[in-house]
Symmetry: C2
Subunit: 347 residues, 2 copies
């Protein structure tokens, strides 16, 4: 029932190769035949079979997005999917489709990726850091395969990646606090091995020093991995040495800090200002609304897509990396008397 290029050729009284050339806008075909073939195509509702086309062209026109996300990832790590949407948007605009692979515990990322490549099942790979390993890096490099890593691998490699600048985010947070008048600043970090938290701290410290308001060691508290942790740590911090402002390493910490400040009948930002990172829907509905240093993750996906497209078009291109710029979103937790925005339904 489905009409193929042969039937079009037959009906139009030309050869298959002529039809193919018309399909590909070859300038070698006369205007007359082009029109004739086009008409027949229209008449027969002909659409080329993409499978056949891709096979003949030795291309899939497909990119694979690989992550290692657990159940509830969509709730706990929405960034991942927002990035994916950005990637999808860019690629689909250029005729590529995006396949999503979520690795299971049993699957080894190296094996999966090697299969994709040698079985010629995709033209490019977008990898979330949660799914990179040295083996992956080796496989990609030895095949000179177009790829981009979302996030920065924690080992030396020839991988192309795109990441946020957490250092810079930390520094932006400090500069903002300084500018609006808070000079005695504390930092509540996540787990000891949480690199994101650490980088944000480093950036904050550096900026503080440059501004002449350095953050003293007793104002740096680590290990807040749950809201309750953060609450307890904040309480202790306030009791021992109440700061004018607190930088929270992430939103979990911020929630705990909010609770703790409220527990002690202090107000935000009058007694203590709070700033955090990454804009979640609830950041803006907290009371007061939370000031954050944010990353436009969708745009990050867009950039990743652009870089990958470039690499697929020209595989000889050298390794490239890209760092997205953080954006400050000022709300009431660091500034008094600002109207809060209404929020649309999250469902």
């Amino acid at each position: 029932m489905p009409v193929s290029i042969h039937e079009v050729a037959q009906e139009a009284g030309v050869s298959v190769s002529t039809v193919s050339k018309v399909l590909n806008h070859s300038p070698l075909i006369s205007e007359a035949t082009t029109q004739k073939v086009r008409n027949i195509m229209e008449q027969l509702h002909y659409r080329p079979n993409l499978r056949a086309q891709n096979f003949a062209r030795q291309k899939t026109h497909n990119v694979t997005f690989i992550a290692r996300a657990e159940k509830n990832a969509a709730f706990n790590n929405p960034h991942l999917f927002e990035i994916m949407c950005g990637v999808e948007n860019t690629l689909s605009g250029k005729g590529y489709s995006l396949t999503f692979i979520n690795l299971t515990k049993e699957q080894d990322e190296g094996t999966v990726i090697e299969s994709l490549i040698v079985q010629k099942n995709t033209d490019g790979i977008v990898l979330h850091v949660s799914a990179v390993s040295k083996k992956v890096s080796g496989v990609l490099a030895s095949n000179n395969f177009p790829h981009i890593v979302i996030g920065r691998p924690d080992f030396e490699s020839e991988l192309c990646w795109i990441d946020t600048n957490n250092n810079l985010s930390g520094s932006i947070a400090v500069k903002h606090l300084f500018q609006v008048g808070y000079h005695h600043i504390a930092y509540i970090g996540g787990g000891k091995d949480d690199l994101i938290s650490l980088h944000r701290l480093q950036g904050a410290q550096k900026a503080a020093e440059e501004l002449g308001i350095s953050i003293s060691p007793e104002d740096v508290r680590q290990g807040a991995v749950t809201i309750e942790n953060a609450r307890a740590i904040t309480e202790q911090l306030i009791r021992e040495d109440q700061p004018e402002a607190i930088i929270c390493a992430n939103n979990t910490v911020a929630l705990g800090t909010f609770h703790s400040i409220r527990d002690q009948a202090l107000t935000i930002p009058d007694n203590i200002a709070v700033i955090s990172f990454d804009d979640y829907p609830y950041s803006r509905i907290m009371e007061p609304a939370l000031t954050v240093v944010n990353i436009d993750v969708y745009d990050m996906g867009t950039q990743a897509g652009i870089m990958l497209l470039r690499k697929m078009k020209q595989p000889s291109l050298q390794v490239q990396s890209y760092t997205t710029l953080p954006v400050l979103i000022v709300r009431n937790s660091t500034i008094k008397n600002t109207a809060s925005e209404p929020m649309s339904t999250p469902i």
Copy 2:
């Protein structure tokens, strides 16, 4: 450089068709040749080209997941992605890959889907309701194409769908409240045209009547589409006729209701109990933690995948639908003195 089936055949001294049969575990090949060919494959690191295989088999071994999600969808509508993860998990276990298409404003879902089908670019389609239309329904039906809709289309159709039972969810909420001793119950709904909110209300009303505690018209308030709306509506409700418990149509409403109750120096659940729907990460970190009637969306995706696989294997199967069962998650907003669970970092 890549080794093909021909080279394997040549090296093993057999024909291409023999190698193909070995590849497909055909019982027609003798043990001896099978081993010989296997060895050569190993030696040459041969892996069949999936593109060629799929083309020859006239199958893509691919399913397409189609949605119409705006920017920030990952944050505002995480369910969508959690479902997708469930689908992906089921399908990848059966050798299918999942392609994600997010329709843009300019794209017509009917056209996109028709292209997918006639261009033979996918074996099955998972459609979020956000991307269905009558045209889509017609295209799928006239091609008898394997598909499943996530959510229930709001028009008569021959579509296969999987949905939640919002009616039942509403009834579960009422039964829970009744059971723990709240008999004067109010309902705060979303927008007038919000079908989900309406169905939950209907279920709640029916259950209440059956229990002999019917919800009076003045205890049903509609139109809470933002947190601020919900706050104002709740305030008015309490002022006019303070209930023992409030059912909030969704989490946005619940947040507003919480604010309002706190504003009036009332406590939850001692003065007023609150119950809502859908378990978001912040449901459990609210104060007190929010009792909700939840849907396991990941499992919903899993079920969708299973249904689609069945349909792809046997396209003659008749139209099927499936409704997932809601699950009550009891927390402190309806029950006094329950320890709250700790929350892991959301990032």
